[in-house]
């Protein structure tokens, strides 16, 4: 097996015993990226030179017998809305094309303290608005499992980079499914932690009541390891909660006998692809075989979640993104007066989807529409939160498909924003309720990955990892890798 193909825990063992060096691991990932990147296009910025320097630092520290961090020497990739000091952070927008932050996001600082090596910044839908990464101002990313298809979005580059072996793990952000849906599409593990679990300081705000940062990994053990590194209180993010997170590794390997799993029927209804359902039900069978008790349940307000989301998220974005005006950072289009400067800067800087959402948000917040749309959506959000609270009095975990379909073709939905929005129906309610959600590879339909989504009550990431690990240990979907074809040649 190639070094770039290994997991965090496998590499950590080899690094600890000195069988390989951090430089070798980093070089292997860089070579892999060089090989597949022309086809996949997961990265918008490479930090290859810096990566080798950092890897050397890790090796030198280890050689001196110093204690190194839990992710020492592990190549990682970061979504390009996560601020990296001195490394451009574009949000894949023309407006921030040259923006190089003067500080690191808290998650970046924590991962660097843990010893991880940054390989580069990954492609995304502009300002995280989208479900396919086609809204990147630069170029689309291709799904490593089928290059004609999207990797999902908005964190498509981060998912594709891990699936293709260009990074061992990555971070994304998830406002309505932007970690879980691409994880499902690329057959990797993706976790959206509970709202408040991980600091968002230094991560470009989209919808502040919904945004969370989380990992993409090749398996569940790695997910626990990366979560360990990033979770916990941050003084710089007042929404990060104070309690100390547990060591998430301790939940791996715990028996799931008698654990109660609910299948909300609304997530298996019309609009969900039959073959996806079939794969999910087979996976449910595996968990039943391990002693879990599975029952059908209901989350009755599910059908309203997309409408609630597509009012609240744009409304919050329209406020958050007022700061992008060309004055303090980013591209500026000069004009004789300040209003025209703002208007031109924003009109030329933002792509169509961002402008569409800013306008929806502005509309929903404007006089006469506020009660009908914004306030109504906040009230229905409460009902969605209550649906989950009710369900978690009876079940430890809820299980659903992550996405109603397998990855769609590049270009298939880009001209129909409403259809694109509905591709998030399974993931959106989770952000509205603030609960943790994990997407796990659970099979294939016509050669394309299917992900199952596990949900638990707030701050019960431990339960998600426990169930996901039990499933993973009894299946081998997490060991299957895409054959990336470059220039007619297949690179397994």
């Amino acid at each position: 097996m190639e070094l770039w193909d290994l997991t965090v825990h496998e590499l950590s063992r080899l690094l600890a015993t000195g069988e390989v060096s951090a430089v070798e691991v980093t070089q292997a990932a860089l070579e892999r990226a060089q090989q597949v990147e022309p086809a996949v296009r997961a990265f918008v910025t490479s930090t290859a030179d810096q990566a080798v320097v950092e890897a050397n630092t890790v090796d030198a520290a280890r050689a001196r017998g110093e204690q190194v961090g839990p992710l020492a020497g592990i190549p990682m990739a970061l979504k390009d809305n996560i601020c990296t000091r001195g490394v451009r952070t574009t949000c894949c927008s023309r407006l921030l094309e040259k923006f190089a932050p003067s500080y690191d996001a808290t998650v970046v600082r924590r991962l660097q303290e843990a010893g991880a090596i940054l390989m580069g910044k990954t492609n995304m839908d502009e300002f995280a608005m989208g479900s396919s990464t086609e809204n990147s101002a630069f170029f689309p990313t291709h799904n490593p499992w089928d290059l004609e298809r999207v990797p999902g979005g908005s964190s498509g580059g981060s998912a594709a980079a891990v699936a293709a072996g260009e990074a061992v793990f990555s971070l994304g952000s998830d406002t309505g499914g932007s970690i879980r849906q691409p994880a499902a599409f690329c057959s990797v593990v993706g976790l959206k932690p509970s709202y408040g679990r991980v600091s968002r300081f230094g991560v470009t705000a989209f919808a502040s009541s919904l945004d969370q940062v989380g990992p993409f990994t090749k398996d569940v053990t790695d997910c626990a390891l990366v979560l360990n590194a990033i979770a916990g209180k941050d003084e710089l993010d007042p929404t990060s909660v104070v309690d100390t997170p547990p060591d998430y590794r301790q939940f791996l390997g715990k028996d799931i006998k008698g654990l109660r799993i609910g299948l909300p029927r609304e997530y298996f209804a019309e609009g969900i692809d039959d073959e996806v359902k079939e794969v999910i039900m087979k996976a449910v069978g595996v968990l039943e075989g391990l002693g879990a008790v599975v029952e059908e349940t209901s989350l009755p307000h599910t059908e309203y979640a997309p409408s609630v989301y597509y009012i609240l998220a744009p409304a919050e974005a329209s406020s958050n993104m007022g700061r992008l005006d060309g004055v303090r950072y980013g591209r500026r289009v000069e004009a004789p007066d300040v209003d025209t400067l703002y208007n031109r800067t924003r009109s030329q800087g933002f792509g169509a989807e961002v402008r569409r959402r800013l306008m929806i948000g502005t509309y929903a917040l404007s006089a006469g529409n506020y009660e009908v749309f914004y306030q109504k959506a906040q009230q229905v959000r409460t009902l969605i939160v209550r649906d989950f609270e009710q369900a978690f009095t009876q079940y430890d975990v809820l299980l659903t498909p992550t996405s109603p379909t397998t990855p769609f073709k590049i270009g298939e939905k880009i001209d129909d924003p409403l259809q694109m929005y509905l591709s998030d129906i399974c993931t959106i309610p989770v952000n509205l309720a603030g609960i943790p959600g994990l997407s796990l590879p659970c099979g294939f339909s016509q050669g394309l990955p299917v992900g199952m989504q596990l949900l638990a009550k707030p701050f019960a990431e431990s339960t998600l990892l426990q169930v996901a690990y039990a499933f993973e240990q009894n299946t081998d979907y997490h060991k299957q890798r895409p054959q990336v074809t470059v220039g007619g040649e297949s690179n397994a």
């Binding site: 007042p238 303090r328 500026r332 007066d337 400067l341 906040q378 009230q379």
Partner: protein, 98 residues
């Protein structure tokens, strides 16, 4: 049916600090109508007496001592601005000369 008119789209664009071409105006008029018509089904939900959710956390105000801490230098804070003068961000004149 929510029917957004050209005039409304122009108004929303102005409030959003955006300029639209006539082609974009036409496209957004249609798409915004479609999206908001879809969202109208929220009206069917009985929300009498249901409080709005603004945050899922029970956030309370957190006070801290007002202490000076090391943070970005003025140079760093200004480093990414397109136009800077005398250690400040520069914008076009916003008041008439009197």
């Amino acid at each position: 049916m929510v029917k957004i008119t050209d005039v409304e789209v122009e108004k929303i664009a102005r409030l959003s600090q955006l300029e639209l071409t006539s082609e974009e105006k036409r496209m957004f008029t249609q798409q915004l109508s479609d999206i908001l018509t879809f969202a109208q089904h929220l009206a069917q939900v009985n929300t009498d007496g249901v409080p709005p959710t603004i945050s899922v956390l029970d956030l309370v105000n957190v006070w801290r001592d007002d202490e000076v801490k090391e943070w970005l230098s003025r140079e760093e804070a200004l480093a990414e601005a397109a136009v800077v003068e005398d250690g400040c961000f520069k914008v076009p004149r916003i008041m008439d000369e009197e």
